[in-house]
């Protein structure tokens, strides 16, 4: 089921098994039959570590989503609430508990907080008079959830806002905790690098936590050589640009949630003879996307322009394989063919799905508006016309395109110009407020506070220096057979990944000037290892770097890092961790103000 987690350089199945075991232990504490009431947000992330079968083995008989008023009837001994520590959820839980108390036979209530207990929430339960009803109140440290063989995410929606807008460190604390767990499983990471205020804080917390545990030496041979902590606000530009890898575009257009995507069903209708096209399914088609699927693993990180040719090659290979049946003459040969059939059918199914997805995406990418938008983005990123009002953005507001799209473009322009001229900024603000509503003053303020949208102060635009020094814009990009990470945005090399690349070779000393322009401190820490655990690297052996994006990472950045991992003379392989998988739209949305 989760074999793909062990394909990578670091076996992330070890982490998955550890969290699964923790879950079983908790379930066994509540003896007897159980019903679980889920905070709906958690079912996605939990789905990545456990199936219903695991829960059923531990006597979970019913499962509900958390809703107001009464629980549905369930003849079980235990009721377990699995929730994030959020106040509004406590109110719902207490409603459930109180109405259940009135209903009859006493049952045991438990609450499992993910990833951390919260005194604030318990206080709320106490105020509501139900705290005493819970027998077990525990926490389940699901900090980092394995998404793929080289990818971990905390799936914490609010992390960027909390860190960079509210300066609340709670999610950083969880990140540090998650890193401690990883070190407990995979050994102490000898070197820590970082850039940014939050990175500094997480490193401090880790060092402090380690000091508290010095009683027992970690005796595990270190798997990771380095940890690189990166603040999202060191690179605000990258998530704003439209991702142009296959996986990135799926996420941009349909949104990938916990490795699942929902697609319009028409293209996936089963084609059977006689159906005559009626009974088209109306429910969205849901597909899981990860490297367990061979074809997807091959194409996910390619520039979308290179996907078509792979699909057509695959189609030929599969056709040829099926043609083999005509050559199978002897019983042995037929048997051989039949034994391969399941694999071939899987490959065919996979090809059919991705051909359909590629068609859906192509409809978008070949549209006039997509082309216009991309052109403007690329102009901004290569430094053209960033200091005046863009007529394309004007058109977008005039035609009332989605607000998030407009905000994303305006922010991109601002970031590529180290802030907008006051006149330009005021103009955009006015257009946005008049077209989309004055209440968005609040959102604009948030964007300004996060540094995404701001007036140019001090007069100097530092972006060109950063762009040139870090070679963020590459004119000759090869989308088919890339030679540089800039292929993921067809020209723009993500700043964050460039920093990682330069750290590994030749080292950050070469870019001191740029590092000073980018916000926050950069630093290096060592965690000394006992001599027995020190690694002697074989010549030619790659280092393994864990890179942690505080505030979110995009699929295009992940693709770029995988590209670097696969370079023959790259010298470094990356495992990626983040507070949340994001794209420009979901990111901006997390900063928008909504009613309480």
């Amino acid at each position: 089921m989760a074999a793909h987690l062990s394909y990578g350089r670091v076996n992330l199945n070890v982490l998955r098994e550890a969290v699964r075991r923790e879950l079983r232990e908790f379930l066994d504490k509540c003896a007897g039959s159980k019903a679980i009431v889920w905070d709906e947000y958690l079912t996605g992330p939990f789905g990545l570590i456990a199936q219903y079968s695991l829960l059923k083995e531990h006597e979970v008989e019913k499962m509900f989503t958390l809703k107001g008023s009464r629980l549905p009837a369930a003849d079980v001994k235990n009721i377990i609430f699995v929730v994030r520590p959020r106040l509004e959820l406590m109110d719902i839980i207490s409603e459930n508990v109180l109405s259940e108390d009135r209903r009859g036979p006493a049952r045991d209530f438990h609450i499992l907080f993910v990833p951390r207990r919260s005194l604030l929430c318990e206080q709320r339960l106490k105020d509501l008079g139900v705290l005493g009803s819970f027998i077990h109140r525990e926490e389940y440290s699901l900090d980092l959830i394995p998404f793929d063989g080289d990818l971990l995410s905390m799936e914490s929606e609010g992390a960027f806002k909390e860190c960079y807008l509210e300066s609340d460190q709670t999610s950083l604390y969880h990140a540090a905790k998650g890193l401690m767990t990883l070190q407990a499983l995979y050994g102490t990471i000898p070197q820590i690098f970082g850039k940014g205020e939050c990175a500094r804080q997480v490193a401090n917390m880790m060092i402090r936590m380690k000091r508290e545990f010095t009683g027992s030496q970690n005796s595990i041979f270190p798997v990771f050589d380095n940890l690189l902590l990166l603040d999202r606000n060191v690179d605000l530009l990258t998530p704003l640009a439209t991702q142009l890898t296959y996986e990135g575009l799926i996420d941009e257009i349909y949104g990938i949630q916990n490795s699942y995507v929902k697609l319009p069903p028409e293209k996936f209708a089963p084609k059977k003879q006689g159906d005559g096209g009626k009974d088209l399914p109306t429910e969205a088609k849901k597909l899981q996307l990860n490297s367990a699927e061979e074809l997807y693993a091959e194409i996910r990180d390619k520039n979308f322009n290179a996907v078509g040719s792979v699909l057509s090659k695959k189609a030929k290979v599969i056709s040829a394989a099926f043609e083999e049946r005509h050559n199978a003459k002897t019983v042995g040969e037929i048997k051989q063919f039949v034994s391969q059939l399941p694999h071939m059918q899987a490959a065919r199914g996979s090809l059919a799905n991705h051909t359909s997805i590629a068609e859906l995406i192509k409809d978008v990418t070949t549209s006039e508006d997509f082309f216009d938008k991309l052109t403007v983005e690329q102009e901004f990123m290569s430094g053209i016309d960033t200091d005046k009002v863009s007529s394309y953005i004007e058109d977008c507001t005039a035609q009332k395109h989605p607000l998030i799209k407009v905000l994303r473009l305006v922010c991109l322009q601002s970031v590529c110009n180290s802030g907008l001229k006051q006149k330009v900024l005021d103009y955009y603000k006015r257009e946005i407020l008049q077209t989309y509503g004055y209440e968005h003053i609040l959102t604009l303020y948030n964007l300004e506070k996060a540094g995404l949208l701001k007036p140019q102060t001090g007069g100097r635009n530092t972006y060109p220096t950063v762009r040139k020094t870090l070679r963020l814009w590459m004119d000759d990009v090869n989308e088919q057979n890339p030679t540089d990470i800039s292929y993921v945005y067809s020209g723009y090399a993500p700043l964050s990944v460039r920093l990682a690349q330069l750290l590994s070779r030749p080292g950050w000393r070469s870019i001191e000037e740029v590092l000073r322009i980018l916000p926050g401190p950069h630093f290096e820490e060592r965690q000394p290892l006992p001599t027995g655990l020190q690694k002697k690297r074989q010549p030619g052996e790659n280092r393994v770097t864990l890179i942690f994006f505080l505030g979110g990472v995009t699929f295009a950045e992940i693709a770029a890092l995988r590209f670097l991992s696969q370079l023959e003379d790259g010298g470094t392989e990356y495992v990626i961790a983040t507070t949340k998988l994001i794209n420009g739209a979901s990111w901006i949305e997390s900063l928008m103000e909504k009613p309480f």
Binding site: T43, S141, K316, S319, F322, G349, A398, Q434
Partner: protein
């Protein structure tokens, strides 16, 4: 940046801005088509019924059978279809879990943290008293409420914070002096655990006067930020405003106050609330916007009452023909302008609902106004109004067509509102740039414009190409033939 025309051309054709297509010499769609074809042809002989047998079994919605979200649906409804339950049964007998080799490792997260002995320096009374067995984080679980007390009364602040961190409930009440309380807070902050910091802040908030709490937090920025976040979370608007006032963070104060309006549903009350926001210390730019927000809602309330009345009376033609889809309350300014151009276009400037009045009151730029009016009038197919919108008279009395938004956009909007070809044609002809004009004319099938433009350009080749696109035997074809046969024109090609 100044680009010459030539540069621009090159820039548009240079590879980095290439259109986003499958890069192949063949027909752009060929590759996808090919794989589609291959896929489809394979269906013929592969039995469809045991589709994906070796793959994870997936219900139609794509939820793998046995996944958590799938099972919630399944177990929640007892009336779930038999078929699905059958599937589940089958699935469980060879469940993915059973298929997996049992984990070789016996790692569990808590065991990592649990089994450790702490260094001597931390060997305090608290450790000795609690945690004698490493059974769990929360030994007090299951005990009746009365026992949520400490075993001992003299935890130091650091011990207390450490206990809180481990999720143990312990009383903070015995920290009575301000000094103790602050030490407790500092200890919590140094641990970075937001959960504990908040717990201590709740205690301080309850036991300290507002003035002292604010004064002490002002010099403790981390704790201060946690308090602000916490107050936002629990919605203690009043204390939050007091805090901002105390800290002299005026803009935040104003915005926090203003934010409240989002929670007020009643339009009249919302309007009154917005009134209280005017004059708050917003930035100069925002002040004007807030004032506009109030004025707009005030207008909308008047317009809404009036129009609802008109509509229900049923006497006004425009409302009878085009019943309102939604109330205009709380709509953005541009939407309101559209509404007013739609229902109140001809009203005199003196009324609140007249477009001209809105334009003046809110200083709506000419471009924005024209765009909105055009869209509204085109939707009503009031071509005469559209015409008037772009007609200007100069002082000699000649009329001239002028569009501040550019005629290409006029054409796009008219087309979106399905204007007839004669109308479209008229405006396509007014587009100045010849290439744009040709493109638009071709796109919207304004044959006459295409043909005349080609003739004017003396572009015989293009005309020939176009001839192949028009219907056989149509008037257009005749017209093209007439031009092609004309000896008057000196073709350039």
């Amino acid at each position: 940046m100044n680009r010459t025309k030539g540069d621009e051309e090159e820039y548009w054709n240079s590879s980095k801005f290439k259109a986003f297509t499958f890069d192949d010499e063949d027909d752009e769609l060929s590759q996808l088509k090919e794989s589609k074809r291959a896929v489809n042809s394979l269906r013929d002989f592969v039995d469809d019924d045991d589709d994906d047998d070796d793959l994870e079994r997936v219900s139609w919605s794509g939820e793998p059978v046995g996944s958590i979200s799938w099972s919630i649906k399944e177990t929640a409804s007892n009336s779930g279809s038999n078929h699905e339950r059958e599937q589940l049964k089958n699935r469980n007998s060879f469940s993915s879990y059973a298929q997996l080799p049992k984990p070789a490792s016996t790692y569990s997260l808590s065991s990592f943290f649990r089994g450790r002995t702490r260094p001597g320096s931390f060997q305090s009374l608290s450790d000795a008293l609690s945690d004698t067995s490493a059974k769990s984080y929360a030994p007090e679980l299951g005990r009746p409420k009365g026992e949520y007390r400490d075993y001992s009364n003299d935890w130091s602040p650091s011990d207390t914070v450490r206990r809180l961190r481990k999720g143990k409930v312990c009383s903070l009440e015995r920290f009575r002096s301000l000094q103790d309380k602050l030490q407790l807070l500092e200890e919590a902050v140094s641990m970075h655990d937001g959960n504990v910091i908040t717990a201590v802040l709740i205690f301080l908030k309850r036991t300290l006067s507002k003035e002292i709490l604010f004064r002490e937090l002002e010099v403790r920025q981390v704790a201060l930020r946690h308090l602000i976040h916490f107050l936002k979370e629990i919605g203690d608007q009043k204390l939050l405003l007091d805090l901002f006032r105390f800290l002299d963070r005026t803009e935040e104060l104003a915005l926090t106050h203003y934010r409240e309006h989002l929670n007020i549903q009643d339009p009249e009350k919302r309007k009154e609330f917005l009134k209280t926001c005017i004059g708050l210390p917003f930035s100069a730019e925002d002040s004007a916007h807030i004032q506009d927000h109030y004025t707009l809602l005030e207008r909308q309330i008047i317009i809404e009452a009036n129009d609802r009345h008109l509509e229900s009376a049923g006497q006004t033609e425009i409302f009878r023909k085009h019943p309102r889809k939604a109330s205009i309350l709380n709509m953005p300014l541009v939407t309101t302008l559209f509404y007013s151009c739609f229902y109140h276009y001809t009203e005199a400037e003196g009324t609140f609902s007249s477009p001209v009045n809105l334009k003046k009151t809110f200083k709506i730029p000419e471009k924005q106004y024209v765009l909105t009016a055009l869209a509204a009038r085109a939707k009503l197919r009031a071509w005469h109004d559209v015409d008037a919108l772009f007609t200007t008279k100069n002082w000699l009395g000649y009329t001239k067509k002028r569009a501040p938004i550019g005629f290409h956009r006029v054409v796009e909007i008219l087309h979106k509102n399905s204007a007839p070809v004669q109308i479209l044609q008229e405006y396509v002809n007014l587009v100045e740039d010849v290439d744009t004009k040709l493109n638009l004319a071709t796109k919207f099938k304004c044959h006459d414009v295409v043909i005349d433009t080609c003739r004017d350009l003396k572009d015989r080749q293009q005309l020939l190409v176009y001839r192949s696109k028009v219907d056989k035997g149509s008037a257009e074809e005749e017209k093209i033939d007439a031009i092609l046969n004309s000896s008057q024109i000196r073709w350039k090609n």
